[in-house]
């Protein structure tokens, strides 16, 4: 039965590479949305028995990560009228290479940190890989919006790791985490909107006035 979660995890890694590889912002956002969806599905698959708690949680994840946030980011793109990540700090194929290295590093670390009583041995390495990919996108891209996407990927990685602890994390706190994520990204969206209006470009390299 546990082949389905493995497929989902593999798809998540694929989505990581999609985010790293593409220069079109809309593709990035769609990839993150798919990842959110997969997270929701995985929550259902991994739960030992279906209960109201896991159901609502999975639904909440899908609603927040797969629907609302990507829709909000897409609205931001239309508002800022920007289509493509022009010359990023680190080239696209270089990012892909980093992505592969990230996966390798993740597997090495996971090997040293044995997860007690966890049957899905793929889960920890994939979550660490997603976290490191999130980091790469954050630092390697110039557009503010892409950095928000990078942050979302990072969150997905951490959330994925969180799935291993479904029974220890009480329902209310899962909701708290989701709510916090939603509000932070929402505010980042507003700030991106202001950046666009102030600098009429989303290039974070412009943001360098404050220095010693």
């Amino acid at each position: 039965m546990h082949t389905a979660p493995q497929v989902a995890l593999l798809f998540i890694v694929l989505m990581n590479f999609a985010v790293l590889g593409t220069s079109r912002l809309s593709t990035c956002i769609r990839a993150v949305a798919v990842q959110g969806l997969l997270l929701g599905v995985l929550a259902l698959l991994l739960a030992p028995r279906f209960s109201l708690h896991t159901g609502v949680l999975a639904l909440g994840t899908i609603v927040v990560k797969a629907v609302t946030l990507p829709w909000f980011l897409a609205w931001a793109i239309r508002e800022a009228a920007v289509r493509r990540e022009v010359e990023p700090l680190v080239g696209f194929n270089a990012s892909l290479l980093l992505g592969v290295l990230a996966v390798a590093l993740a597997f090495a670390i996971a090997a040293r940190l044995p997860l007690p009583g966890m049957q899905q041995e793929l889960l920890v390495p994939v979550s660490l890989a997603t976290v490191i990919t999130g980091f790469i996108v954050l630092t390697a891209r110039r557009k503010a919006l892409t950095q928000v996407v990078g942050y979302l990927v990072l969150e997905n990685g951490i959330y994925l790791f969180g799935l291993t602890q479904t029974e220890s994390m009480p329902f209310l706190l899962e909701l708290g985490v989701l709510l916090d994520l939603f509000v932070v990204v929402f505010i980042m969206g507003i700030v991106v909107f202001h950046i666009n209006r102030e600098f009429d470009s989303l290039d974070s390299a412009r943001l360098e006035e404050l220095t010693d």
Binding site: L89, L138, T139, S204, A205, L207
Partner: protein, 662 residues
């Protein structure tokens, strides 16, 4: 100790009253004078009682902050400093009030008075604190109050620079003291001086570290060369009565600190004695040499304080060596000489600074090259300044000679002894050289300011200062003369302090006291005999002349200039730079004097070689290094995030490394 507490309280009340009712000048000034005088006399009483052998009970407050109980008490060492603090502090406060009487900015004057009162109170607390935490608190309050009094005219850049240099130096010194008491307090039960004395640093290495740090911390405050760089700038920036307190009392706290450390150590190591001796000789020699090169009166007096600190250190060095080599008499005399010279220096140095203030007040300038002939115009200030100069050079009738004699006596005592203590006597040569240079320096100062013809209209129109200014100076001058002519008043307490520090049996001290008392009175008798003899000859001669037909003396003639046709103008006189030039020529590399000669002008500019050659370049180097590192860090967001990732990776590597280990 209660009386001292009452005295300190009164001074704080004085500060509050003057700060509160600064608008009504007359009322606040008289109230301030009354409270200060009352506070000082109240505080002085227990000091005198302790010095005359009585014991004063300690005051112990329960510990409200980490670091053990707060203990305050007066032992003989504190008493000497306490007496000097109240005597000089009171005089300077009265002087300050008179000095600022017609100051237009009443707010600033009132502020200065209040800060002065706080400074004197803090000084008294530093000296009576017998536990680390209250000592450090009083120490920093003194440093900060000192800073705030120095910058009483902040609009001048020179004042701000001097103040900042003082503040940075004293704060760095305080940090060294933190280290001293942290290391020493590590083994002790709690942080009172008593428990520190009970648990001295165990190993010789730790003791060496503590002593070097203490020397650095207290040395910065005392102005030991090379840590003296802030002293001339701070004194030049401060108003004169504040410089008087700075030189007379505040830098003495550095000496008090070193003495307290010696008192707490059961047996100070011998190398510490040699270090003190060496530092004393260098500080003394370089201090007086740099003083000779100055022609700004306050900087000159400030450098002179460095010289006197050198002399005090010679005494301390002799004391420590006496204890180290087992010569109790030499140790007692050395410490007694140091303590007495500290007290004397507080008296005559503050007197000289007040004199400088009076001169500055009357003429409006500090550059002695533009003064001259003030003795006729300011007779009282001239007389008082002359007394101060004779005392500071250590010439017989006055108190300066007494304390230098004690230091010489202890150095020679080493010479008479056996073993390697005999090499101590060579330091006497350094003291002699310092004495010679001091004579040259103060002959120059007195002559150029007070004698001959006025070199500048400023000096020509000078008028004697108000009695409110000259009266405190007269009090200090009187104190110098009394302690000089009546050594029986001063020697026994000094020897009592010496024996406390040298831990010699009281039997020895009493014999020493009588040994010292006897001869010095003989000395005074000899002086009196000499005067009587000369007076007898003169009277007999005058009587013979009166009967004969010799006309009375004429005083309307110009100075005889070897038949030079034109009467001598003021420009013919020797200036300060020309007077000191031959001496400075002999020690050229060290003096830091730069001569600027143009077609029709000649000017020498003396600068403190340590400050310009060592301290400022060091700070510029640090600032440039920091600047280079700062340039690496641009404001780009991705760089900031890169730092975060770098930290994560480093922690992961640490996790794997440590994970494998444990």
């Amino acid at each position: 100790m209660m009386l001292v507490a009452a005295g300190i309280l009164l001074m704080l009340v004085a500060a509050l009253t003057v700060a509160a009712l600064w608008r009504r000048v007359a009322l606040s000034d008289t109230a301030f004078r009354l409270f200060m005088v009352l506070g000082c006399t109240l505080g002085a009483i227990p000091a005198v009682r302790v010095l005359s052998g009585a014991a004063v009970p300690d005051v112990r407050l329960a510990s409200l902050v980490p670091g053990g109980d707060w203990v305050f008490g007066i032992d003989t060492l504190s008493a000497v400093f306490l007496l000097a603090i109240f005597l000089v502090g009171g005089a300077c406060a009265l002087y300050g009030v008179a000095y600022a009487e017609h100051d237009h900015d009443r707010r600033r004057a009132a502020g200065a008075h209040a800060l002065l009162a706080v400074l004197v109170a803090a000084l008294a607390l530093v000296v009576t604190a017998q536990a680390v935490v209250p000592f450090l608190i009083a120490w920093e309050v003194m440093a900060v109050a000192g800073y705030l009094t120095i910058i009483s005219e902040p609009e001048r850049a020179e004042v701000r620079r001097g103040g900042l240099l003082y503040l940075v130096a004293t704060h760095t010194g305080t940090l060294a003291l933190f280290a001293v008491f942290a290391i020493w307090g590590n083994g002790a039960r709690d942080l009172t001086f008593a428990s520190l004395a009970a648990h001295p640093p165990a190993s010789a290495g730790v003791l060496a570290l503590v002593l070097w740090l203490a020397l650095a911390g207290f040395g910065v405050k005392a102005g030991i060369v090379p840590l003296h760089f802030w002293l001339p700038e701070a004194h030049a920036a401060a108003p004169s009565h504040i410089s008087a307190i700075m030189s007379g009392l505040v830098i003495k706290m550095g000496i008090y600190g070193v003495m307290r450390i010696i008192a707490l150590l059961v047996a100070p190591p011998v190398w510490f004695g040699w270090v003190l001796l060496a530092l004393g000789a260098t500080s003394g020699f370089l201090g007086v040499l740099w003083a000779l090169a100055q022609h700004d009166l306050k900087r000159l007096l400030a450098f002179h304080s460095v010289e006197n600190i050198g002399i005090i250190l010679l005494g301390l060095g002799a004391g420590v060596l006496g204890v180290g080599y087992g010569h109790p008499v030499m140790a007692t005399l050395g410490f007694a000489g140091a303590a007495l010279h500290t007290f004397n220096h507080a008296l005559f140095k503050s007197l000289l600074f007040l004199g400088a203030g009076s001169v500055g007040h009357a003429t409006g300038t500090r550059d002695i090259e533009r003064l001259g002939g003030l003795a006729k115009r300011m007779p009282r200030t001239a007389a008082v300044f002359l007394i101060g100069s004779v005392a500071i050079v250590g010439l017989p009738p006055l108190n300066g000679f007494l304390s230098e004699w004690l230091v010489y006596r202890s150095l020679f005592q080493g010479g008479v002894g056996t073993g390697s203590a005999r090499f101590v006597v060579v330091a006497a040569v350094a003291l002699a050289l310092i004495g010679g240079l001091a004579l040259a320096c103060f002959a120059k100062v007195v002559a150029v300011i007070f004698l001959g013809n006025p070199r500048d209209p400023l000096a020509r129109e000078a008028r004697e200062s108000a009695s409110g200014i000259t009266r405190p100076m007269a009090v200090l001058a009187g104190a110098c003369v009394v302690t000089g002519l009546a050594p029986v008043l001063v020697l026994p307490p000094a020897l009592r302090v010496g024996s406390m520090l040298a831990r010699s049996a009281s039997r020895d001290t009493m014999s020493l006291v009588s040994a010292a008392n006897g001869p010095v009175t003989v000395f005074v008798l000899a002086l009196a005999a000499g005067i009587a003899l000369a007076a007898g000859i003169a009277l007999a001669w005058a009587a013979r002349r009166a009967r004969s037909s010799v006309q009375p003396s004429r005083t309307s003639v110009e100075t005889w200039a070897c038949a030079y046709p034109v009467p001598l103008t003021a420009r013919a006189q020797y200036t300060a730079s020309s007077f000191a030039a031959p001496v400075l020529a002999l020690f050229r590399p060290v003096t830091g004097v730069s001569v600027r000669r143009t077609a029709h002008s000649f000017a020498t500019h003396a600068v403190d070689p340590v400050r310009t050659g060592l301290v400022l370049p060091a700070w510029r180097g640090v600032a440039q290094a920091a600047d280079r590192i700062r340039r690496l860090h641009r404001g780009r967001i991705s760089l900031h995030l890169a730092y975060v990732i770098a930290v994560v990776i480093v922690l992961l590597v640490y996790l794997i490394a440590a994970g494998g280990a444990s």
